[in-house]
Amino acid sequence: MQLSLEHVGKTVGPSVHLYPQSLTPVPGAVTVLLGATQAGKTSLMRLMAGLDVPSTGRVLVDGIDVTGVPVRERNVAMVYQQFINYPSMTVADNIASPLKLRGLPRAAIDTQVRQLAERLHIDIFLDRLPAELSGGQQQRVALARALAKNAPLMLLDEPLVNLDYKLREELREELGQLFAAGDSTVVYATTEPGEALLLGGYTAVMDAGELLQYGPTAEVFHVPKSIRVARAFSDPPMNLLAAEAVDGGVQLNGGPRLAVNLPERATRALTVGVRASALRVHPREGDVTLPGAVELAEISGSDTFVHVHTGVGEVVAQLTGVHDFELGSPITLHLNPAQVYVFDQSGDLLVAPERKGAPK
């Protein structure tokens, strides 16, 4: 199914929810809408579903204009943040409800319900009511019902946000497999860059009602076209350092000079972007150094994010594994100049690190 948004915008009274934007999600694949709260993800999804009518522009499905066609006349499955199920129906009846609407014979319904429940590991709860299940299990029921609908377009609005992180991890992996196995066009909204990367597929980065960039997820991550995209698509946030164009490269304000090939169009004032993962405590050949003092070590479970006060400002370094740092202790960070991003005065990308070993 080919969904196309053409210059759709949405204004409500005096406030702009969405600036006019065009997006054609790749059919049969996952498109992640990535952005902070209030970026416009939900507004855009509501236009896709037909829950809202755009103020400007058109919505096309397989080339046919469906702008203004209400959601019940479209074939769309939706999953929300909140776990929405029919409270008085058993899990089995919840999952069966879209199948019954289609008028399938009883036996076929039972088989499909059981298959879906098995895939989402809720087959032992089929006779229970949703209220008797945990949050994670309730959301699995909602997901199973959406999948049962087998709609050509499936919209998921931060479906895992209300679950704790281990459940989120498990369910995200299962969803990735289910999406890959099906042929629906999936649109999935999230605030978490890590979730977009784990789901893969394609990503549309949104910020303050604007669609900033759309492309294969890893490509958007590695080659963000602007500071705004880089900021939205990094966790911890990309370190942004003030710099100036000089002979043979870039001079960091209050820090070392980096040998970087700048394109002709480079402005004098620049911003250098350094991913937290590009900062290391072990030196390698060709590195420059950033000496500083530890402000805090944040530990995510697999990584340690060290916040360091340096001459170029406060930076965050991402170190693999769990490491203990005394607050205030001295530390030297190392950086290969080939791994920096350079943005011009207006925030547009000039230089991105070369990518080695990126999977195709």
């Binding site: 991890e169 890893a218 993962s277 530990i299 769990v322 490491h323």
Partner: protein, 356 residues
């Protein structure tokens, strides 16, 4: 400030018979004076029950709670001299920030000049000095919760300060600032702080010692580094880290280790019988197929997670994940590779508990 000793169990049922009847299985543990502790586990693991027993909101069905050796099992929160901070702000809207912070001290008839000095100190630590004269009612939820934190920390003579998921209402980008504040404050004030959360980042960042719980049981109390490097229980290996530890069933007979029918030589002595190997994705190494000591595996998925590559492999009917540096040359899906599962970081489990 006090050392807190727990030697207890708790059941909400009148006649507990089996393990499942207990909210807290029998446990014996101590919280040292001046330490920063976190109680970490999924919902329903018993961490809030434990906190309520320490604060005096709940009397354990079995055993005792001691503060500095003195039995406090049935003492009220006031008698225990405990300060508490909850998920949601508990403050007086009609008072100013300064009055809110001063309230716990005024209540205990602390002299006015001491109150002023302490309120000033706490406000400065929380970066609220410029808001002292503002009415609490006009502040955002974040700011109100900061006042709650300040009220919890303002009394210098408390036995302990207990936090129950205190950052729930805080916006994500402010969370790390407050985590840093709490850590700094712990350094400066040397209060005993006990922090309940289901979030590994909060627990591992805040605490010197983390108590990991599951199903009413304390499975490990240790430093963040220990929980990562040497999880005492398979649950800890699974729960800490994203993705968590890989586990691989293995067998030891007559001192020889075999995994999926392949003999491997371990660098330490192992107990006989069915065991599990635990290897973190960070320590699982990909080597050419057929390399000595490597398990043959098939690559199922390769994901570019931006800051690293995540390779999922099938080996002897199990799924293992390996995390590679972003500049590594990744294998292709379907490739046959070798997996180096033994090394100094490998953990060995028997009946889910760390053996070697």
């Amino acid at each position: 400030m006090s050392r807190i000793d727990l030697d207890l169990a708790h059941s909400y049922k009148p006649n507990p018979q089996e393990d499942g009847d207990y909210a807290l299985l029998p446990l014996k543990m101590s919280f040292e004076d001046g330490g920063a502790y976190a109680l970490l586990g999924p919902s329903g693991c018993g961490k809030t029950t434990m906190l309520n027993i320490m604060s005096g909101l709940l009397v354990p069905s079995h055993g005792s709670v001691k503060f500095d050796g003195q039995d406090m099992t049935r003492a009220t929160p006031q008698q225990r001299n405990i300060a508490q901070v909850f998920q949601f702000p508990v403050i007086y809207d009609t008072m100013t920030v300064a009055e809110n912070l001063a309230f716990p001290l005024k209540n205990r008839k602390v002299p006015a000049h001491q109150i002023q000095a302490r309120v000033g100190q706490i406000a400065e630590m929380l970066e609220m000095s410029h808001q002292l004269d503002m009415r609490a009612a006009g502040l955002s939820a974040d700011q109100k919760q900061k006042i709650s934190l300040g009220r919890g920390l303002v009394r210098p003579d408390v036995s302990a300060v207990l936090f129950d998921e205190p950052l729930t209402v805080i916006d994500p980008h402010l969370k790390w600032q407050l985590r840093r504040k709490l850590k700094q404050i712990h350094h400066e004030l040397k209060l005993t702080l006990i922090y309940v959360t289901h979030d590994q980042v909060e627990a591992l960042t805040f605490a010197d010692q983390v108590v990991v719980m599951t199903r009413g049981k304390v499975v490990q109390m240790g430093t963040p580094e220990a929980l990562f490097e040497r999880p005492a229980h398979t649950f800890v290996g699974h729960f800490i880290g994203s993705p968590g530890m890989n586990f691989l069933p293995a067998n030891v007979a007559e001192g020889a280790l075999s995994v999926g029918g392949l003999g491997l030589s371990a660098d330490r002595e192992l107990p006989a019988g069915e065991i599990k190997l635990g290897i973190r994705p960070e320590y699982l190494r990909l080597v050419p197929v057929g390399a000595i000591g490597a398990l043959p595996a098939t690559v199922r998925q390769v994901q570019d997670i931006g800051t690293y590559l995540l390779v999922t492999c099938d080996v002897a009917g199990q799924t293992l994940k390996a995390r590679l540096a972003p500049d590594a040359t990744p294998p292709a899906v379907g490739d046959r590779v070798g997996l180096q599962v033994l090394g100094e970081h490998t953990c060995y489990y028997k009946n889910e508990e760390l053996m070697a």
